[in-house]
């Protein structure tokens, strides 16, 4: 074990006992609320969607809570701190993406579905094959996203508790998974939504305090803050290997290197902007409000909050570059992901570090819980009830299956998170977006807007988008083949490690040049949906009329529509 040496360095960052105390307070507080608002027996509708119990504004705050994940707070702040404005490009993509949800998806989904994404996709198509395909895709996207969150939990809590050993991080990831699944099992969608609302308010308030604090140190001058970041970075050791400081306030530090990185950046941007409206846990949130008007209001609120928050992370990222500096960020457990917590420590000592990290911890819990609900809902509703039981299962059986599914998902997330814990989490999330944009969004848009869409088109699009995006990731430099760099291991020795998922630089089976597959796999998803539909004559005029009229007028939403 390496805990002795790591403890010695870690005690310089905060007071682990205080941090653990704040953690526990958060968990106990939120758990008490979950038990109060939402314990007891639930119908399937209550478990998956809270049966439309929330208002548009509440849901909008919860969407922000669901969406402003550890990737947004820790990953983006860290990316800005280390790579300057290149990190800002992530936030813009994540924000603009909400316009797709607002204009094209949220209201029409609310009007035509009830429990899951597959409700909408299978509305006028053949139920079984479309539900199976959608469920597979939903679970893949959720899993990618879950891994990112769990990886973030490992890095963050290690920083907090002053441990960076492998075993200790794994234990932390296991605890996060266990607490999360407790929220889901006890509270269902209603309890989880409240956790997300509380977390969103705390996160935005915390980021606001840090922003004002940082700006105050630079006389409320953005330019002054940038100068501080440039000054600190130019005095750091990374400056010797790359001209980091000069590039901090400009674009191109990370992506401007050569043609491949440039195309990779276009690919990433495409995935970010088209991925949000295909994320299952985001879509699931549109069902927690009673009407399409409230769904619209939800997205409006979400856009204001998310946009405001990303503006804050810009200041936090540059604040970390200026006040903490790249050397200390790179030396911390969790590296870039530790930038925001380290800045909190720099500003307000161990108390602020404890509070900010507690909030970040709550963030991970809330997002992971939302993902688990979406994934378990699609398993119980689409696979178990509609496919295995031919629609004959009772609500009670469905909820039972959903609970078991949640536990299985938690185990998978814990094990996966242990494997993925050294990856940058903003980047892992970007991969989830690529899969969502390739496999989910084409089918959603076609089924809402294109008369000629049919079952074959849906299957080709979902499976084609899914296989091409995941396949290209497997054969990309993300998984293998990035050239090795000398890396300091936890026990202090040096090794030549590849930044790919497979860290052995001698294993290299990549042939796809880009890190993000979106540029290829998203057009494939759209194209296959079109070609598949054209090659099939299937068309249900009555169902098409019903779906289109309902989607636009909201007719029949108040009654139980069970498809």
């Amino acid at each position: 074990m390496t805990s002795l040496s790591t403890l010695a360095t870690a005690t310089t960052v905060g007071n682990p006992k205080l941090n653990i105390g704040i953690f526990l307070a958060f968990v106990v507080f939120t758990l008490a609320i979950v038990i109060r608002v939402a314990s007891g027996k639930k119908t399937a509708e209550q478990y998956y969607t809270s049966a439309g119990a929330f208002s548009g504004r509440q849901n909008g705050i919860a969407i922000a809570g669901d969406y402003l994940s550890a990737a947004s707070f820790l990953g983006i702040a860290g990316a800005i701190a280390l790579t300057g404005l290149d990190g800002f490009l992530y936030s813009i993509g994540f924000l603009v993406a909400w316009l797709v949800a607002l204009l094209l998806v949220a209201e029409l989904m609310r009007n035509t579905g009830r429990f899951t994404m597959a409700d909408v996709l299978s509305y006028r198509l053949r139920q079984r094959p479309v539900r199976i395909a959608t469920a597979v895709s939903v679970m893949c996207v959720s899993l990618f996203y879950l891994l990112a969150q769990m990886a973030g939990a490992g890095g963050l809590v290690s920083l907090l508790l002053g441990v960076s050993g492998d075993t200790a991080q794994n234990i932390v990831i296991a605890i996060v998974g266990t607490v999360m699944v407790t929220y889901v099992l006890v509270g269902g969608m209603k309890g989880t939504t409240w956790v997300q609302i509380i977390k969103a308010i705390l996160l935005i308030a915390g980021a606001f305090v840090m922003t004002v604090w940082v700006l105050g140190k630079y006389g409320f001058s953005l330019s002054g803050l940038f100068q501080g970041a440039v000054d600190t970075t130019s005095g750091s050791s990374v400056e010797k290997t790359s001209k980091a400081a000069e590039k901090l306030t400009t674009y191109g530090m990370k992506y401007g290197k050569d043609t491949t990185t440039k195309i990779d950046f276009i690919s990433l941007s495409l995935a970010l902007v088209l991925g949000t409206a295909g994320l299952p846990h985001v879509l699931q949130r549109f069902y927690t409000v009673p009407t399409s008007k409230q769904a619209r209001k939800s997205v409006e609120w979400a856009i204001w909050l998310i946009g405001g928050f990303y503006l804050l992370t810009l200041v936090i990222g540059f604040g970390a570059a200026a006040l903490v500096g790249p050397d200390r960020i790179n030396a911390a457990p969790g590296k870039a992901n530790a930038a925001a917590p380290l800045l909190a420590y720099e500003l307000g000592g161990s108390t602020l570090l404890g509070i900010i990290s507690g909030i970040a911890f709550a963030t991970i819990l809330a997002v992971v819980a939302g993902l688990t609900i979406a994934a378990s809902a699609t398993f119980a509703h689409d696979i178990y009830k509609e496919v295995i039981k031919n629609g004959q299962a009772t609500g009670e059986q469905e909820v039972k299956v959903a609970r078991i599914a949640s536990m299985v998902i938690a185990v998978v997330a814990i094990l996966g998170g242990m494997l993925a814990k050294s990856q940058n989490i903003a980047f892992l999330v970007a991969l989830a977006f690529a899969v969502a944009a390739s496999a989910n969004l084409p089918t959603i848009l076609y089924s809402l807007f294109w008369k000629g869409f049919n079952t074959r088109g849906a299957l080709w699009s979902i499976y084609g988008g899914l296989i091409s995006s995941i396949g290209l990731i497997i054969f990309s430099p993300v998984v293998s083949g990035k050239p090795g760099v000398p890396t300091k291991l936890a026990d202090g020795t040096m090794a030549n490690l590849s930044p790919s998922m497979i860290t052995n630089p001698n294993i290299d089976f990549h042939w796809f040049p880009l890190d993000n597959p979106g540029l290829v796999s998203i057009p494939i998803g759209f194209l296959l949906g079109y070609v598949g539909s054209k090659l099939s004559k299937e068309f249900d005029a009555a169902k098409y009329a019903e779906m289109e009229v309902r989607s636009l007028t909201g007719h029949g939403v108040a009654e139980a529509i069970n498809h």
């Binding site: 813009i92 924000l95 940038f226 674009y251 209001k297 990303y310 629609g391 005029a541 636009l552 007028t553």
Partner: protein, 110 residues
Amino acid sequence: MSTKPTATSEAYVAVQQSPEFQSLRRKFRGFVFPATAFFLAWYFLYVLLSIFAPGFMNKHVAGNVSVGLIFGFLQFVTTFAITFMYARWANREFDPAAEALGDHLDGSAK
């Protein structure tokens, strides 16, 4: 499937083919399609400029504030503006028309 229809299939088909519904659909698509085209084009302009025209984007206009940073802020401004305009349009113009059609459908189902 335990569908309890509130209107028959014929009623839905009839509504779908009515001039009122056709005009509602035109109204909706007439707003959301151009708005989507605009924000996507504007977003990709920003993306492409930041990688293919770094000289332009990295020009510092005031202190350390670059053209690219201003462009980035403008993405926030347009996103907020489109959200505001869409919500206003939907509440004032789209909802009343959609509700009227929905009520009509309820009436015809009885």
